[in-house]
Symmetry: C2
Subunit: 678 residues, 2 copies
Amino acid sequence: MSALYYLAPAAGALALLFAYILIRRIIAIDPGNEKMREIAAAINSGAMAFLRRQYRTLIIFIITLIVVFCIVGFVTSGPNSMKPQTAIAFAIGAFCSILAGNIGMRVATKANVRTANAAYTSGLNKALNIAFSGGAVMGMSVVGLGLLGLGVVLAFFIEDNSIVNGFALGASSVALFGRVGGGIYTKAADVGADLVGKVEAGIPEDDPRNPAVIADNVGDNVGDVAGMGSDLFESYVGSIIAAIALGAGFSIGAHGEGMLAPVLIAAIGVIASIIGVFFVSAKEGGDPQKSLNRGTLVATVLTIAGSLAVSILILPATFKAGHNVYTSLGVFFATLAGLLVGFSIGKITEYYTSADYKPVKNIAQACETGTATNIISGIATGMGSTAIPILLIAAGIFVSHKCAGLYGIALAAVGMLSTTGMVVAVDAYGPISDNSGGIAEMSKLPHSVREITDKLDSVGNTTAAIGKGFAIGSAALTALALFTAYTQAVGIETINLLDPKVVIGLFLGGMLPFLFSSMTMQSVGRAAGYMIEEVRRQFREIPGLMKGEGKPDYAKCVDISAKAALSEMVLPSLMAVLVPLVIGLMPGLGKECLAGLLAGVLVSGFLLAVFMANSGGAWDNAKKYIEEGHHGGKGSPAHAAAVNGDTVGDPFKDTSGPSLNILIKLMTIIALVFAPLF
Amino acid sequence: MSALYYLAPAAGALALLFAYILIRRIIAIDPGNEKMREIAAAINSGAMAFLRRQYRTLIIFIITLIVVFCIVGFVTSGPNSMKPQTAIAFAIGAFCSILAGNIGMRVATKANVRTANAAYTSGLNKALNIAFSGGAVMGMSVVGLGLLGLGVVLAFFIEDNSIVNGFALGASSVALFGRVGGGIYTKAADVGADLVGKVEAGIPEDDPRNPAVIADNVGDNVGDVAGMGSDLFESYVGSIIAAIALGAGFSIGAHGEGMLAPVLIAAIGVIASIIGVFFVSAKEGGDPQKSLNRGTLVATVLTIAGSLAVSILILPATFKAGHNVYTSLGVFFATLAGLLVGFSIGKITEYYTSADYKPVKNIAQACETGTATNIISGIATGMGSTAIPILLIAAGIFVSHKCAGLYGIALAAVGMLSTTGMVVAVDAYGPISDNSGGIAEMSKLPHSVREITDKLDSVGNTTAAIGKGFAIGSAALTALALFTAYTQAVGIETINLLDPKVVIGLFLGGMLPFLFSSMTMQSVGRAAGYMIEEVRRQFREIPGLMKGEGKPDYAKCVDISAKAALSEMVLPSLMAVLVPLVIGLMPGLGKECLAGLLAGVLVSGFLLAVFMANSGGAWDNAKKYIEEGHHGGKGSPAHAAAVNGDTVGDPFKDTSGPSLNILIKLMTIIALVFAPLF
């Protein structure tokens, strides 16, 4: 193995060191008065309680898979058989992702209260700085542990791709729990808190008397910090692993340069992201969005320059991949194409979900004629919003393949994800700001504080939308790269759409995201039901709760919806894991059918994910737009219609939509890891 | 050409003769009192006004395509070039479908009032008999003109498949207008009538003072008689043509027996359907559903027996198709598989959309917690309802391909559609019963009459659901058969999913149904807007209208929403027609990309169509279930939530969903007809 490989774990270690420095700085900051600290402690301990419950289920899942790997590994034999060592890579991958999420959640639930206090005592810039630093810890943990863990696995197993793939499956398993379990949890808590609190008890949002209020605040962290982080962790390592596999498969470069290049590009992206973080700061009265954009821009430009250097310096000037000859510069352009597509998908997501543009304004307008027209308008907007992202992905595939063949497609995914550190930092900033607003409200800080946190939060909504678009786009490109790696692993040169096995696979695969979304949406409803019962029980049984004299049992609410969410995720998860195995092993169907299935899941999963995320985001912001005073403002009939739309959108954008990212990737990785069996 | 081919146009002529007899019998029946005749005349003239306006646009579309065929035909040359004669086949196909729709609409708008009067004067059996006879006229017209027209085209052009394909495109063009234009019209009229009538003016449904009431009744005929008829006409001839093309392509039988078999199976299906019609009749107090089922069963059993005879007597005992050898009995089993899949998809649609089963009951339950939970529950149900139809289609593909290769898949489509005469008859019975109820209401017939028409109507709802499922399933299988014929026509042996062109096509194709649905949903909103303005204007400007003294201008309402619907359908239709041409002709993409695109459209179109149709149907029946007195009944908060769901479901199930059937088939047929250019 070339010594240059060690640059990757080194960059990972650097990112972790940087995260450690950020953590020290955040913790040193004053967390505010006693009330604030009390609330923050409740959120923090709720978040940890959620994680503990999640780990208990996760560990069973992980151990089961490890046992499967060992058994299959020892039972099968021959050069193409599955290696028991896959279990080691798998365990490392899972551990790294769990650790990244744990660090991120811990810090986010400490940064939130400090952001609120900074908004109180020092103003916008300081508050922005803390919230973003908190996000940056998550971002750095994701890429740091990603590269460090992958570096370790590569150091031992680089000669055997099938083992390395285990690392991706480990990441994927954690993402499954983060996105599906976490997604169900966060919306069950949200719906439960709203329905009993606002509707039944008639108390405002973020009211500390509501027993579900902490669970709701925990949910923001679960969904947008841990969930998003694990999702991008999976894409990040998945894209690199796919590129390594294809670099090896096409034997690019005499000394494995085709395998080295993606690793180095990732390492450069990490360093560029660290530098980018330093460029995020806002003057008093300035625009936080601009400073976030500045940081992202710096990171992106540096990554582009670094990718150019890597392509030219590392790769041979011309090389053969498949039937054609490509150039090292072509690899650079493929990487660049991926970066641009990721950026553009984020931007177009903003267009469809921000109240600054026509789509959301039209939806708000449709609220004037009632709920039904609002729903139809939102669904039509979401469905229509799939067009441009698809065109972008198609253009990305076209360009990157023209430039560097199938290897180019994998490099486009690596390019798109190279700035993941920065993307996650910006994204995780959102829920921290959101939480800080909640804490300010609950601890009755002056209105001026809420103004600052609202400003931070509204930027957070935009970054969340962009992050969601990015997550879906990167999931699609990563899955495509993994899909290509799968076909190489099982040794199929053509997947013929005239072969009925492939067509059957395509039909079945196309259906799975619909079924999966159906399941996760219904899960939210059921899990919310348990939460509602518990809240009602507490209002009934705890004396003086409504008067603010009794103390609600926050932890119980967290625990109940965590438990419900985790049991609800069993069925959809089993489907995602077992279907590829069953199809791949079934006589008469087999690996070609599985290839068709993966293609179907990818296409329809991507479309549904974009549709659901954008419909949900647009409804949310249409409601906020009306609350700002348009179409009659709060309390008007239009507002009532908008609230219904927002409620429908909640599981769309925070549970079912993002869960599809995982479905797409997980099924492909399962196929890739178990490829030796097919 | 074998003389046996003439059996097909002969069976077609027989069906038309039978239709003529039915028409004579219907017209001879007493249309009731003056008030009833007046209302029926208004609906009839409204329907004719709609058709006239539609023809004006349709003729431009048809002439344009004829000119294109002639120009392309004369300009290109060589053995594979496009023939100008394609224009002739195209014109005949379009004419036959138009004529079938025209006859069906004329008779349906005469049968409705006679059904109402029979319910008044003679009771259930007579009323059922008339309503079903009206539907049977549509059914017989569809298969009669389908087989007769196709027979004429085959007589002249059987040697040249590319010309025969023109016939399918003619049918497809009319279906485009019937389903997309008609679908937008029917919901614009429905929403317009409801919103201004029930909500603003506070008058009940089917109140003759509402200027939009006739437009609404016309809409039922436009959507469920003409629209459904043109859709199944297209599937019917499309499946036969695809089977002929594959029979020719694989050179099955020394004397073209592979081309003859599907034609004969279709002919037998027609005769079986005629016989089946005689078995539909109910005793007083009996169950109309049972008698409809009896007729369907007879037609199906006879068709199965006939298919067995055709397979064994006509086809060679063993034959080669592609790389494998199959038996004549295999062809029979492929046909049987198609029939069973069509039947099962219909049944499963009933399960998901009828209030007798759990899904609709759960949705009604979800109405108790408000609109948002109702919407989520309906969407989850619709998405989940795609699973079994996909499994059925996959099973159908698997079995029919095992039994007779790609030819078997086409025969499965022919088998599924062989009883189209009966299916359309049962389906068109629904809107006639629905209309008869409206007429009874408007002409203030006694309540007992309404009880009979309600009984007929409620059966109509079930048959409509089954018919919708059947239409989608047959569209998918027909499109798959046409897709196979396309790949033969352009001479591609493999469509490789590892070729980025194919992947790009798959992504783009998968997206188009989402974009198309988005467009059609928004079209309904805009077209309804024009209607609402016109109704408001009439209430404002016509003196004494609210008091029942002024006479509303029904025709104007029909005309305005017809005009709006037809202009709204331009953009989605152009997309459907032009995209395959652009992709097929674009350098760097071409016919492989187009193949991927068609596969993508087929899979995601089928899924979205099932999802939207079933969500819409389920919401509709959940509302009716609540109106029967469950969950608080009419006027309860649950009912209000259910009404919202029903309104969202309207464009789902009657516009966007069914329009996708056409998108799937039309794009494939365009590709097939213009294949010589690619």
